[in-house]
């Protein structure tokens, strides 16, 4: 019973936060609401005995990703009005289709097919059961291939991000002290010997 109460409280907070994320005008507020949503879902995961996921969610998403988001949002001056252009125009149709799809999904994935009769409630694990250990055991055996591919994807993401954003700027002027020290006289001046020029060129010009 207490579990149910906790679930609904957090679920309500999560839905509220989710709605706020896409409706508030201020981008920083929006990001903060997302953090709230993440926290609430982490709590729900804890209820489902998925401690590892819950903690990872908080660590990775809240601790790293959202902080990065906030930095970006604060550094870039995002124009909120422009973001919503076209939103209104497509809203009615989009809403209609979304509602339609949602309705169909509920019909399909609802209790009728995924109810407790077909999918009985899992038996709670013992207190010494480690979620992390279980995940680790399959991650490096059964799902090794997928895991490695995922790692490659992350590598590609890094390569892509760097190649798209890094500019090697050739025009920047920097000093190289070692060259300044090592400079010789011959590098700077050149002595040329030449015959003296007649004066008439200058006279013609004047």
């Amino acid at each position: 019973m207490s579990q149910l109460v906790i679930f609904f409280v957090f679920a309500a907070i999560m839905v509220f936060a989710g709605v706020m994320v896409i409706t508030v005008r201020n981008a920083v507020h929006s990001a903060l609401f997302l953090v709230l949503a993440f926290f609430s879902s982490a709590a729900i995961w804890l209820l489902m005995e998925a401690e590892f996921l819950a903690i990872v969610l908080v660590l990775v998403y809240v601790g790293a990703v959202m902080v990065l988001f906030l930095f970006v949002v604060m550094m870039l001056d995002v124009n909120t009005a422009r973001l919503k252009e076209g939103f209104i125009r497509y809203l009615p149709v989009g809403l209609l289709v979304a509602v339609l799809i949602a309705f169909q999904l509920i019909m399909v994935v609802g209790g009728e097919r995924f109810g407790l009769e077909d999918y009985p409630k899992p038996v709670p694990k013992a207190a010494d059961y480690s979620n992390t250990e279980a995940l680790g055991a399959v991650l490096y055996t059964e799902y090794l291939f997928a895991f490695e591919v995922a790692a490659v994807i992350l590598l590609v993401a890094i390569v892509a991000a760097i190649s798209l954003t890094m500019r090697r700027r050739n025009t920047v002027k920097t000093q190289k002290p070692e060259m300044q020290v090592a400079v010789r006289r011959e590098d700077r001046i050149r002595i040329v010997s030449m015959a003296s020029e007649p004066r008439n060129g200058r006279e013609d010009g004047s």
């Binding site: 399909v108 059964e142 591919v149 590609v156």
Partner: protein, 477 residues
């Protein structure tokens, strides 16, 4: 073969991609060609390894994550080969636009890896990961020419819509998982075939999401909207990469998901594919007529070809799948050549992607006018070029599956399609060139395009070997 031996080509490719990445980082600008040569060498060896490890019978490895079989091996070898040519075509083009960077080749190699993973996937999870690996590389490659606003816009659209499609695909996968309790394609097929599922609503819904995701990746109407904009906006060197090998990977993905996994639901996906196919052939061929830009025209022609490609799959027979596989390979070769010709004619900062740029090509270079004509005739499906055999074998299977009306529709649309191909031929042979300068492309590029054209001609004269190979490959998978 142990599991690791079975995926030697992929392991080698991954290792070499990392090596190329590191080597490139330490190379001075002047030695950039080393990266390029390393990448080419990698592809050759990868293709060779794939051929050398051609399996006698399918072998499922890594707890059902991947499978090494005939279809996969043949497609992988062709993917490596096509990528080899795509790299060759791109060298001069990139150099002239100051984007001759190691990243293009590193990302290209990773994209090839992604395709190979998709092709030999035996689990929905692997398919998804391979697809993401491929897509991520492609997004970045499209955006690589940063000075071009077109390219940035194209990359943005590609990314957003690609993410949408990936979402659909994932959602579909989750529903299939919900319905069957597994992501392993073999087990899914077993569960579907066992008849334990009384109510397959969830499966069918998941199937719809999957088909939408697949159709997006293939570029079938109405999920094709990204394709013209991306093909047009991306640098041609990237377009020819996107437009060739990934089509084979997408075909393999369709085969893995729909045939290997969900063949039991054939009645459901067949009807959807029929509609996708007709819409693609109609929209692709008709809109291509109105295009004045060759890249855009080829983009719409791709959509039309995808319609044809689907025909073989939807016929639902082994022979039909073989015909589609033949089509995918042939299409990749032709499309590579078509875009390659644009690269060949481009020089300096100038893009030869307008129809006018091909005017009077015969006077400038009779040989390349002939090669281009081979590509165009082949795409239009004129015998004796290989495109004819591709269309013909697919149509034969559609007729064999008692869908004569569909074959008639396909023929009508391909006749409409012939118009815009032949228009280019007319421009090349009967119009005066706007710019009579001779072709200045490098020797390697000229040789590669010539080989590509002769391959289309040669395969058209002797289609038997490749057709037989496709049939044999599918029989061994």
């Amino acid at each position: 073969m142990t599991d690791f031996v079975a995926i030697t080509p992929e392991l080698f490719l991954l290792t070499m991609a990392c090596v190329v990445l590191i080597v490139d980082a330490f190379l001075p600008e002047a030695y950039r060609a080393v990266t390029y040569q390393l990448a080419l060498m990698t592809l050759v060896i990868t293709g060779g390894l794939t051929v050398a490890l051609y399996p006698a019978e399918p072998q499922v490895v890594f707890h059902g994550a991947a499978v090494v079989d005939g279809m996969g091996s043949v497609l992988k070898a062709f993917i490596a080969g096509i990528a080899f040519f795509a790299f060759t075509y791109s060298k001069d083009y990139l150099r002239e636009r100051n984007v001759f960077k190691g990243e293009y080749y590193v990302l290209g190699l990773f994209a090839v890896l992604g395709m190979m993973i998709m092709v030999s996937a035996h689990s929905l999870l692997t398919i998804y990961l391979g697809l993401e690996l491929l897509s991520l590389c492609l997004y970045a490659m499209v955006a690589m020419h940063r000075d071009s606003a077109d390219a940035s816009e194209a990359a943005m659209k590609y990314f957003v819509l690609g993410a949408l499609a990936s979402g659909m695909l994932l959602y579909g996968i989750s529903m299939i998982y919900g319905g069957t309790g597994t992501v392993d394609l073999g087990e899914i097929a077993a569960v579907v075939a066992s008849g334990d599922i009384v109510d397959d609503t969830v499966l069918v819904f998941g199937l719809v999401f999957l088909v939408v995701g697949l159709a997006f990746k293939l570029g079938a109407v109405p999920f094709h909207m990204w394709l013209p904009d991306v093909y047009h906006g991306a640098p041609t060197a990237v377009t020819l990469f996107i437009g060739s090998a990934p089509k084979m990977a997408a075909f393999a993905m369709v085969m893995r998901v729909l045939v290997d996994g969900l063949e039991g639901l054939q009645a459901d996906w067949q009807a959807m594919l029929v509609i996708l196919s007709i819409l693609s052939m109609a929209v692709g061929n008709v809109i291509a007529i109105a295009q004045t830009n060759l890249k855009r025209m080829f983009a719409y022609s791709t959509i039309a070809h995808v319609g044809f490609l689907i025909l073989g799959v939807l016929s639902g027979t082994e022979a039909g799948y073989a015909a589609s596989m033949f089509y995918a390979i042939v299409y990749a070769i032709m499309s590579l050549g078509g875009f390659g010709m644009i690269v060949l004619l481009s020089r300096g900062g100038f893009e030869a992607d307008r129809l006018e740029d091909f005017k009077g090509l015969n006077e400038r270079s009779p040989w390349f006018a002939f090669i281009m004509m081979v590509f165009l005739f082949s795409m239009a499906g004129v015998p004796p070029f290989v495109g004819f055999w591709a269309k013909w074998s697919v149509l034969r299977e559609v007729v064999a599956a008692d869908m004569v009306w569909l074959a008639v529709v396909a023929v009508v649309f391909s006749i409409i399609g012939a118009f815009y191909y032949l228009r280019v031929v007319k421009l090349m042979y009967f119009d005066k060139p706007e710019d009579a300068s001779p072709i200045t492309a490098g020797g390697d590029l000229q040789a590669a395009v010539s080989i590509n054209g002769l391959a289309v001609l040669g395969l058209g004269l002797f289609p038997g070997a490749l057709l037989t190979l496709c049939v044999a490959a599918l029989a061994a998978s």
